[in-house]
């Protein structure tokens, strides 16, 4: 991995982020819907057009689109994403508050997926064709096939509404109530992690089976090494390389999955304000959040590429 390679990747990521921000900014302004009218029409009521015009003026929406775009870019260069059209709240503050929660959800889901998917994949490969292997393969197909919002809704119905052993959804800060925080995190983490657990299970199982078929494993057995040592040192270590790559790539896609999960469980991450902002045509908020998600996605991909380059020097040299 060379400095030039890294600089090139970062430059490409920055250009992509700018393209995304520009497309979102322009697309939002092109679709029908006036933020001022929408704000004053909340609840289906009919606002006075004079009030709407006054609000448009206050929000700066009467300016030509190019001027608005220029102001947006200038703010972006200063690290200012603007303020919400709805309540004048700084977009950066909103993102700073909610991004850690979205990341926490993703990391909790990923952790859960690793804890379940990897050991289960190892076990299934070690007992190929056995009852567990067959059952687990069926279950993973089911987990991959059922949409995340269906799983989420079922979890709420079962654990909250029927059994009443878990809260239906919401959020409590960890510092305020750690136990409640973990309880509220559990169901959404399961919902978001279930698909990744299935992927990791399949990937681990396949990689383990490949590794187990290698000559060096047969040699290790012939040398009389303990089965546990063969598994950990010779098989798992080699099998985990592709699993880590898949894990990194899927963490990026989990960002998209959080939109539904956060909505279903009322988890106040980035998704709620994003959906609300789209409905309200709150341009600065939408662009700010989408830009953040895009940068995160690009960052994760960059890290994965760097990891790959570190593991395989041929990638960094290209």
């Amino acid at each position: 991995m060379t400095g030039v390679w890294l600089a090139h990747r970062i430059a490409v990521s920055l250009v992509l982020a700018w393209v995304v921000a520009t497309i979102v900014f322009l697309a939002l302004h092109m679709v029908p819907g006036d933020p001022a009218e929408l704000l004053l029409s909340t609840g289906g009521i009919s606002p006075d057009p004079a009030s709407v015009a006054e609000l448009r003026q206050k929000l700066g929406l009467e300016r030509p689109l190019l001027i608005q775009y220029g102001a947006f870019l200038a703010g972006l260069l200063r690290g200012d994403l603007g303020t919400s059209l709805v309540d004048d709240y700084p977009v950066l503050h909103e993102i700073a508050l909610r991004l850690p929660r979205t990341l926490e959800l993703i990391f909790a889901g990923t952790l859960l997926a690793i804890i379940i998917g990897v050991p289960a994949g190892v076990y299934a490969a070690m007992h190929r064709g056995g009852t567990f292997d067959r059952c687990a393969s069926g279950v993973t197909a089911l987990l991959l096939a059922v949409p995340v919002f269906v799983v989420g809704t079922l979890l709420v119905l079962l654990f909250a509404q029927t059994l009443r052993i878990m809260p239906a959804g919401g959020f409590a800060p960890f510092a305020q109530d750690p136990l409640l925080h973990l309880k509220l995190l559990a169901l959404p983490a399961i919902a978001i992690g279930k698909g990744l657990a299935a992927v990791l299970f399949r990937m681990t199982r396949a990689a383990m089976l490949d590794a187990l078929a290698n000559d060096y494993v047969r040699t290790a057995r012939a040398k009389g090494l303990a089965p546990g040592r063969i598994l950990v040192v010779h098989v798992l270590r080699n099998a985990l390389n592709p699993v880590i790559t898949v894990l990194g790539l899927h963490m990026g896609t989990l960002l998209g999955g959080t939109v539904l999960v956060e909505y279903v469980f009322n988890w106040p991450g980035l998704s709620t304000p994003l959906l609300r902002a789209v409905e309200a045509r709150d341009y600065p908020m939408v662009v700010g959040i989408v830009l953040t998600i895009s940068v995160l996605f690009l960052l994760i991909n960059l890290i994965v590429e760097m990891l790959q380059a570190a593991l395989d020097p041929r990638i960094g040299a290209r």
Binding site: V31, P32, G33, D34, E37, L38, L39, L40, S41, T42, G43, G44, I45, S46, P47, D48, P49, A50, S51, V52, E54, K58, V86, D87, D88, Y89, L97, L111, L112, I114, I115, V118, P119, T153, V156, A160, Q161, R164, I165, M166, P167, A168, G169, G170, F171, L179, L180, L182, K183, A186, Y263, V264, N266, P268, T272, P273, R276, E279, A280, R281
Partner: protein
């Protein structure tokens, strides 16, 4: 990252523990502390006292602010910052202010604050919901510190009800725009944008013994099913907008109760600038073509009532049994009206609604089906709500489905949906000619004699049945679900249901 076997086993054991009943928190803890946990359907876009930002925002504002009047649990006006009000010999409204009322900062509520608030609402740069009405006030006089006199440009019989609207509060006149200081029974102690709001009782509230709760925690559940699940699970004590499909489950649950009324309604709007809907006979044909029971069943799971006339609340003096069925389902009559208008073979048109709200989409589908039976073939247009609003106010539609509440239970509260001479809006028909209806509304607004007003509004209904500025479809039930231990709350009747949040002042745990 290297995971040891011990780590894996430990994590594996911890995961099911998270789901253990042992960790389920005691739901009664909040109740013991006198804090009501309320499941709100939407986070208020903002809490500006005079800007309409929805009923959920109204619920919060009704608790943190006060106006001259409010509604009691029967839906009648009662004094708040005003002790009494009357019309004087010159036709001006005179309000006598209550003594001892203070704002949350301890400053007394004065006639100057009332005057300043009215002027802000009516101001040229105002974005207040009641701006148009308040601009009818010619001047505000303060004959003495406890009296305020409102001189209007034209007689306004319903002026006191303007102050009952949840976008008409009296604010301390030295407040900054972003921190309006009110005189409500609760004050805002904290909020997390988009998630929750915490109110605490205001200890200097002017009504002794009120509020009865020590505080209210509003938790936002935008998804109606999750909001209902939170109530069923005991996460909250009370929710608004119980989904229609869940009302039976709430009623069947021994721990819970449902308080529902029929207040909001669904209707059809028309674009009156072009054929065929510029012809009242065609609009009447549409009115007679739709079987409302199907809408109540399909869109509201039976939780509503057919609306075959204007949305006048049954039981009020303005309601008339025959007029209430003026657009009764009669496909033969609908076809005859179409033929009379020159559309014997029907026509093709569009029906604008939105896919974002199930009740709008389901209602549109039932309407489409029934109109098809008389020869009107509708192409459904179901954009998102924002686009629906935009197209509605610009007249970019033929027919549109809408759902709303009147401003109050007085027929004058229907002006906002019936008076098509007002500026275009997504919530009323686009430039439909209805001169007799509009004239009757104006006449009723200027008449102070109750018996004469009743007759005027009957005439208004007769005119509207012929001119058809809108077609009523269905009343829809609006319900609050709550734990049976929650007492003292009343869902206000009819259109006032959206103002029921004010009743939380009288709510307590029993």
């Amino acid at each position: 990252m290297t995971l040891s076997r011990r780590t894996l086993v430990g994590a594996g054991l911890a995961a099911p523990l998270l789901a253990s009943p042992l960790l389920s928190g005691p739901a009664a803890a909040q109740r013991a502390s006198g804090i009501l946990r309320f499941g709100l359907s939407a986070f208020p876009p903002n809490l500006q006292p005079w800007v309409s930002t929805g009923a959920s925002a109204g619920t919060v504002k009704l608790l943190t602010h006060r106006s001259l009047v409010s509604y009691d649990n029967k839906g009648q006006l009662r004094g708040e910052l005003a002790e009494s009000w009357a019309i004087d010999a010159d036709g001006a409204w005179v309000f006598k202010l209550r003594q001892g009322a203070v704002f949350h900062n301890g400053e007394p509520v004065t006639a100057d604050d009332v005057k300043w608030s009215i002027e802000q609402i009516a101001g040229e740069k105002s974005t207040a919901y009641m701006r148009t009405q308040f601009q009818e006030i010619e001047r505000v006089e303060i004959p003495n510190p406890q009296t305020i006199r409102l001189v209007t440009k034209t007689p306004q019989a319903t002026l006191p009800s303007w102050f009952g609207n949840y976008n008409t509060f009296v604010i301390w006149r030295k407040s900054t725009p972003n921190e309006p200081i009110g005189a409500g029974p609760f004050r805002l102690a904290g909020q997390e944008r988009g998630t929750s709001l915490d109110l605490v009782a205001f200890d200097k509230f002017y009504k002794p013994g009120f509020p009865k709760l020590k505080g209210i925690r509003f938790i936002v559940y935008a998804d109606e099913n999750l909001r209902n699940a939170a109530l069923m699970a005991g996460d909250v004590d009370m929710i608004e907008y119980v989904p229609w499909q869940s009302m039976a489950a709430v009623e069947a649950e021994p721990r819970l109760k449902l308080d529902s009324v029929e207040g909001p309604f669904m209707d059809i709007l028309f674009n009156g600038t072009k054929p065929p809907f510029n012809d009242p006979r065609v609009r009447r044909a549409v009115a007679h073509a739709v079987k409302r029971e199907d809408i109540v069943k399909a869109a509201f799971f039976g939780r509503g009532k057919p609306l075959e006339g204007l949305p006048i609340v049954e039981g009020t003096p303005w309601w008339d049994k025959d007029l209430a069925r003026g657009w009764a389902y009669d496909p033969a009559r609908a076809k005859a009206l179409l033929a009379e208008a020159g559309f014997a073979n029907g026509f093709q048109t569009t029906l604008l609604s939105t896919a974002q709200f199930g009740m709008h989409k389901d209602t549109a589908e039932v309407v489409q089906q029934h109109l098809s039976a008389i020869g009107i073939q509708c192409e459904l247009q179901l954009p998102d709500w924002s686009t629906r609003v935009s197209r509605g106010s610009r007249g970019q539609y033929d027919m549109a489905i809408h759902g709303v509440s009147a401003d109050n239970n007085d027929p004058d509260g229907l002006t906002v949906v019936l008076d098509t001479s007002l500026s275009p809006s997504h919530g009323r028909s686009f430039k439909v000619e209805a001169p007799r209806t509009i004239a009757a509304l104006a006449k009723g607004r200027a008449e102070f004699d109750q018996a004469k007003r009743v007759e005027i509004y009957r005439e208004m209904q007769r005119a509207a049945l012929e001119e058809v500025p809108l077609v009523g479809l269905a009343w829809r039930s609006q319900g609050y679900g709550m734990n049976k231990g929650v007492k003292g709350f009343t869902n206000l009747p009819g259109a006032l249901t959206t103002s029921s949040g004010g009743m939380l002042e009288e709510t307590f745990f029993g």
